[in-house]
Symmetry: C2
Subunit: 297 residues, 2 copies
């Protein structure tokens, strides 16, 4: 399950609370497109804003609507004790894998992050993906630390943020990381605008926000990458530049994806947990126009 | 309660869990020194690593051991809903004031942070202090936003991180902020190494990590500041340079204060919640040596 397209859906949270029907509608788009895995409660899935009971319930709903597509559940928390409780809940809900970001409050040291993963791996029976996302966790991994953690039994993938924009630099960056990882641990790209460069640089999986709402568009890209069609990968991603531009304009993808889910009628236009707020009406109209013009699905 | 010395105690969490007896011993040092207020569950109080029931219990213990010293309770969480629940708990425990940091996961926009404070102020009856600490929250306040939030009824103080090291620059910085605040809203310095400069620049209160464990040393400084003895403030702080050096060396104060609490026999040397880990034995010995040489109390 740590190759191909891993779709990361939004978790719609409207003023009335978690929107279960909207979430199921989003999941159905992903299953109908045949994603290789589903990553629920990632950053775009707003795990950080939800209670433990909400996260447990959402993992269960994902599992019961995923068909035979494996489900990875993010168990991030600043507290190791809470990570273990969330891991218990996710496993009880049937999670096929867990995703762990080293969420920081106090700045973490390398030995503390290693200790966090070591404690989790001693506690769980399903495979785990390392979630490297300094923009939200504030922790910067070294390749050496990735390698040290990846040698813990059960680690199966590393989710990295963007790669350098030059194809040669991107390939060098991915190869340097891979040289520290044991066989069988894949590298996955996130940061959707970097996906084509990352896949062409040797990443085996796209942990994709775009794929959480537009799985057909994302799967075309990972399918082309799997066939080695590097130019086609770039073309398909370049076509989505208006979407990547919206992500840049709004300081990340989550508010854009929330606006898109609302524009598609999948949930309420106001579907982000507070303190997050929806884009302005004008910006939402721009998002809707981009979806229409690209015929995104 | 938003002037003078506000002491921010460590919350000791040993491998056996929250160390209530150790916490009470730490509180007793603060009350015996006559701090002007106690700020529990701040960053050094590890609020971010504790569950809601733990935070409620700790607020109650602080209140019942604070004598007539007012207690401020930090209610930080990335989720607005959780902030409101924590505020309910803190008020039920008898908190005299609340402290709110805009803890970020997704990067927050100014209107989102304003909305967070507006929602809290509509919900609570006790005064609130704005907690500006970009090092842990990842949110950078503008003076304009401070002023806008400070005009909400019930806001009584702004806790700022360090000030520029030059006294003139520090005074200009504090005056610029004060010009945006309504009368009756104080400015408090944190970042202990900056305290003397901040107090001499016009800050009315020191939100003090040092004061959480060495309240006599901290109170000497705020007492001198209250008497307008600016040179004495600088002298007293300069004497504590070996402590500030340890804070710098270890990337912040929390691991040093944990080592100090252990060295003083107040709690276990391993008293930080995971994933945080104690300093090495050698570094703990260095901390103990500094406490002894400065006769800190």
């Amino acid at each position: 399950m740590f190759t191909g397209l891993s779709a990361f859906p939004l978790t719609p949270v409207t003023p009335a609370g978690f929107d279960e029907r909207g979430f199921i509608r989003i999941l159905e788009r992903i299953t109908s497109a045949g994603a290789d895995s589903i990553g629920v409660l990632g950053s775009t899935g707003s795990y950080a804003y939800l209670t433990r009971p909400q996260r447990s319930r959402i993992a269960g709903i994902a599992k019961s609507h995923a068909g035979n597509i494996p489900v990875m559940v993010c168990v991030g928390s600043v507290s190791t004790d809470e990570v273990l409780r969330l891991a218990d809940d996710a496993q009880a809900a049937g999670a096929d894998a867990l995703l762990l970001p080293p969420v920081s409050y106090q700045t973490l040291r390398d030995d503390e992050v290693f200790g966090l993963f070591e404690t989790l791996m001693q506690h769980v029976s399903v495979p785990v993906c390392i979630y490297d996302n300094p923009g939200t966790t504030r922790f910067e991994f070294s390749d050496e630390l990735h390698g040290r953690i990846a040698r813990l039994p059960g680690i199966r993938s590393v989710k990295i943020p963007g790669v350098p924009s030059s194809p040669d630099d991107a390939r060098a960056r991915v190869q340097r990381l891979k040289s520290t990882l044991p066989d069988g641990v894949t590298v996955g790209i996130s940061g959707d605008a970097s996906a084509a460069t990352g896949l062409n640089a040797g990443c085996e999986v796209w942990y994709s926000v775009c794929g959480g709402l537009f799985p057909h568009a994302a799967k075309e890209i990972t399918d082309a990458a799997a066939r080695g069609e590097r130019e086609r990968v770039v073309q398909l991603s370049d076509r989505l530049q208006p979407l990547w531009s919206l992500f840049r304009k709004h300081g990340g993808s989550i508010r854009v994806m929330a606006a898109a889910a609302g524009a598609l009628g999948l949930t309420d236009p106001d579907c982000l947990p507070r303190p997050l707020r929806p884009l302005s009406a004008g910006d939402i109209a721009d998002v809707a126009a981009v979806i229409r013009s690209l015929a995104l699905r």
